[in-house]
């Protein structure tokens, strides 16, 4: 079945550094990908999305890269701030599961002042 997973469960960075969070997906039919941020005690919050006809998309301080060849996507956060500390999830949809997001396990990002 489809699965979406993360390479690193935890990531610690210093304030001001750039952060990179990675995600692998297994379903080659997936064509829509989203990154969510979840702070403690809150629901996931949309960060950025990308469709399979793109390989890069930029937002405010965030960039998502998609490599369909190796079924990998990453989230880059520039100038990481303590407020970025949270759990980050990638999610995917498409193919026979279109309409249903499949979430990965999550990466805990800790930003030290």
């Amino acid at each position: 079945g489809e699965s979406v997973g993360l390479h690193l469960p935890t990531l610690s960075v210093q304030e001001g550094d750039n952060s990179i969070i990675n995600c692998a997906y297994s379903n080659s039919a997936s064509d829509y990908f989203i990154w969510y941020k979840q702070e403690s005690g809150k629901g996931p919050q949309f960060i950025i999305d990308i469709r399979s006809n793109m390989d890069k998309r930029q937002g405010q301080r965030v960039t998502v890269l998609l490599n369909k060849t190796v079924k990998h996507l990453s989230l880059q956060i520039a100038a990481t701030q303590p407020g970025d500390s949270a759990v980050y999830f990638c999610a995917s949809a498409g193919g026979t599961s279109y309409g249903k997001l499949t979430f990965g396990q999550g990466t805990i990002l800790t930003v030290h002042p």
Binding site: V4, G43, P44, F89, K100, L101, F103, Q105
Partner: protein
Amino acid sequence: EAGVAQSPRYKIIEKRQSVAFWCNPISGHATLYWYQQILGQGPKLLIQFQNNGVVDDSQLPKDRFSAERLKGVDSTLKIQPAKLEDSAVYLCASSFQGFGGELFFGEGSRLTVL
């Protein structure tokens, strides 16, 4: 703009008891989702409504879980009887244009089954 409202925030019950969670989506959002998030894992879709019709309930354990969305607005998720493995956060989300639109999540209802 008011967000997705959920209640209760926390609930502790004993196994075999029943529990119900309530969700009020963002006004005008036709699509409503219930997700289950077990500690340390990503959310898993339980059921998706489009207005008051069910779009996907393939991962809903129908022997004990039920959900309804009367009048296409508020929704309730019920568990009866609860099992220990149902301990999780139950997240409600809504979106304006169905899948492909941004999902807005509520803060969740944390269930502990003893």
